[in-house]
């Protein structure tokens, strides 16, 4: 009995001391290196988009370091990126952020894709004046209302007007009165965007079918398709990821639904190919969203930087950039530009001021088309706005139909 108990105590003491020792070594910085923390969704539900987002952040950091680092005053500071995986789980996310802040002594955060994870760690950072969090993925509105959060990424509201306008136009042309709204109920951003869409459609005097919910990763859309067909629907708005759009369109066409689909999904050519969807099925399917590099090249907007980013990304990772990659890449360069402009890495108020005043011309690397705010600034109330484009499938690629706004 005694031996056993001593073993218990010894084991416990060893474990605790080990834990405490591991947890305390604070990241040292000697001034020639700036540690930036990345909150990443590398595993779990958001992994598919989180992976390419992480890649783009890494790419931007590598580029900056290859050029010698960020110029602060008269010396160059290299970036050390510390990435923490949240497993797309809010609880793990809070621990990850605390680890970055405490153990690595980080004051600058980039990343965040999952809205739930961002909402969970928000209480930790939101009132901290010594922390700047560049959110490049999570789209839930309101995040940018906190002093520490900047978002160089479209929030869920930005494409709503364009989607509704297109849907109403199409409905007008087809002479139909009802517009369906399909919504991925697992996406936090839909919880705020969808009611807005529904209100806008109703305000235009049309009736709304739904919102018809589905869950990301669904293999069957039969009941949703049946609901659209029962309502005699001809125009549907699709609020969800590209992979789900492909599944829906393929099955809808096979089951005799031939309506126009307006989506905000960021669908890629790879997703079309993997889901084996025919060009015929994708007729009358339109995708609205922030411009991808390929769109910018086609529209000759910011084409050079966009092409450069897309090429570098493809060369490094062997695949085209993902849904949030360009925003992630831009986010790191925005932070670097602000630090250079502020001329300091430790005066956080000054860095915030630099971010507020940063103009589009200050960040030539931006691989997206930012809509300049007052005074050519990137941010308005910590939120950036982006040119949207309308895309359609031409049998081999998503091609740009036109720019919106």
């Amino acid at each position: 009995m005694r031996v056993r108990s001593i073993a218990w105590v010894a084991g416990a003491a060893l474990a605790v001391t080990g834990l405490a020792a591991c947890g305390e070594d604070s990241g040292s910085s000697d001034g020639s290196e700036l540690v930036i923390g990345e909150v990443a969704e590398l595993t779990g539900a958001a992994e598919a988009v989180g992976g390419p987002q992480h890649n783009a952040i890494k790419l931007a950091v590598d580029e900056i370091n290859a050029a010698g680092g960020i110029r602060i005053g008269d010396k160059k500071v290299r970036i050390k990126l510390r990435t923490e995986d949240t497993k797309s789980d809010p609880t793990v996310g809070v621990t990850a952020v605390q680890k970055l802040l405490t153990k690595d002594g980080v004051h600058y955060l980039v990343g965040s894709l999952s809205g739930a994870v961002a909402s969970a760690y928000l209480p930790v950072i939101k009132d901290r004046k010594d922390i700047i969090d560049i959110v490049v993925g999570a789209a839930n509105p309101g995040l940018n209302e906190n002093i520490s959060v900047y978002r160089p990424r479209a929030d869920a509201f930005q494409s709503v007007d364009a989607e509704v306008t297109l849907a109403l136009e199409t409905a007008g042309e087809l002479g139909t009165d009802n517009i369906a709204v399909l919504s991925d109920k697992k996406l936090q951003s839909n919880a705020v965007a969808v009611p807005k869409i529904v209100d806008a459609i109703k305000a235009a005097g049309k009736t709304v079918v739904g919102p018809v919910d589905f869950e990301m990763g669904a293999t069957q859309f039969s009941s949703q398709i049946a609901a659209l067909k029962r309502a005699g629907n001809k125009v549907a708005l699709f609020q969800g990821y590209g992979t789900d759009l492909m599944t829906f369109v393929k099955q809808a066409r096979a089951q005799g639904y031939d309506g126009t689909v307006v989506a905000a999904s960021g669908a890629t050519a790879d997703q079309v190919k993997q889901a084996d969807v025919s060009a015929d099925a994708l007729k009358n399917v339109f995708d609205i969203g922030t411009a991808f590099p390929a769109d910018l090249v086609a529209l000759k907007l910011n084409a050079e930087a966009a092409q450069k980013f897309a090429d570098a990304y493809e060369k490094e990772f062997g695949a085209p950039p993902g849904y949030t990659s360009a925003s992630a890449y831009g986010g790191v360069h925005i932070l670097a530009a602000a630090l250079e402009k502020a001329g300091t890495t430790t005066d956080y108020a000054k860095v915030r001021e630099a971010l507020d005043d940063l103009t589009v011309a200050d960040v030539p690397e931006l691989a997206e088309k930012v809509v300049p705010q007052e005074g050519d600034r990137i941010f308005k109330d910590h939120q950036a706005y982006f040119s949207l484009v309308l895309r359609a499938w031409d049998g081999a690629a998503w091609t740009t139909v036109k720019a919106i706004g």
């Binding site: 992994e47 949703q224 889901a275």
Partner: protein, 285 residues
């Protein structure tokens, strides 16, 4: 009408997967939570064989089924067999561990983008005002046929009968000289083969992704619960019932509570008949 037929088509696939799980459950006595991973492995391998090796769909399906059987046998002898005398939650936990590792490896290899195997049957036909894709009819027909064949196999062959004996009373069966190890191998091989057929055929109709395993296992478990443990043939009715309930729930409660309705239906069935709708024997403790 449309919804009912959709439900039947989907339900037969659930039944096929569940039939495999019933066989394995008969020997291991715990839910083989990695069964859905067999379905996933087969679907992914089929798709890979067709798109990368440019094999015809039937050969691709053979590759998928072979991979699934290999995977099942590997788990059987590397994980479950060494643990055969352990408490049941150890086996359950080990199957969950296998799920974690398999899924992580699959995502590393194939990413998590859903994919459909090209070259499946195209076109559709109409029954009343319902439009049924031919591919669905093929899917349902193959599933039902394979379940039927398996049921015959279990009731007509010596191996099948001895497996049933094991499922009924493992200890006595062993005392009577039934080859336990061989039966484990047969159960995992045939059970995983059924999952393999389901995965490969399913991948030609619906998107499969590296993350679908656990969902598939849950559906199969619900089918088994509805049908009652023990009979391969009853599983077909359990599967169709689940498919139809799912479809009806999807119509009555668009989106939202669809999963809950299926679960609720299952719970009501269980409370009313704690051993399943067709369950004859008392569920073992």
């Amino acid at each position: 009408m449309q919804e009912l037929l959709n439900g039947v088509a989907q339900g037969t696939v659930y039944a096929l997967i569940a039939a495999g799980l019933v066989l394995i459950f008969g020997v291991v006595r715990v839910p083989h939570f990695a069964h859905g991973e067999s379905v996933m492995v087969s679907g992914m391998m089929t798709c890979w064989a067709v798109t990368s090796l440019h094999l015809p769909v039937l050969l691709g399906a053979a590759v998928g089924v072979a991979a699934s059987v290999g995977y099942g046998l590997f788990l059987c002898f590397a994980v479950y067999w060494p643990m055969r005398n352990h408490p049941e939650w150890n086996l359950l936990a080990s199957s969950l561990g296998a799920v974690v590792i398999t899924q992580t490896a699959a995502i590393a290899i194939w990413t998590s983008t859903p994919r459909v195997t090209p070259g499946g049957v195209s076109g559709s036909f109409e029954i009343g005002d319902a439009i049924i894709p031919w591919s669905w009819a093929v899917l349902a027909a193959i599933s039902a046929a394979v379940i039927g064949a398996t049921a015959l196999l279990v009731s007509r062959t010596t191996a099948g009968v001895s497996m049933k004996a094991m499922a009924a009373d493992a200890e006595t069966a062993q005392l009577m000289g039934i080859p336990v190890r061989k039966n484990w191998a047969i159960a995992f091989a045939v059970g995983s083969a059924l999952a393999g057929v389901a995965g490969s055929v399913y991948s030609t109709v619906f998107p499969v992704s590296t993350t679908l395993g656990l969902d598939v296992t849950f559906s199969a478990l619900v089918v088994i619960i509805l049908a009652g443990i023990g009979s391969v043939a009853h599983v077909l009715w359990g599967g169709v019932l689940l498919g139809v309930v799912e479809a009806v729930a999807g119509t009555v409660f668009p989106g939202g509570y669809q999963d809950s309705m299926v679960f609720l239906f299952m719970l009501v069935v269980l409370v009313a008949r704690p051993n399943g709708l067709f369950g004859l024997e008392r569920a073992r403790d």
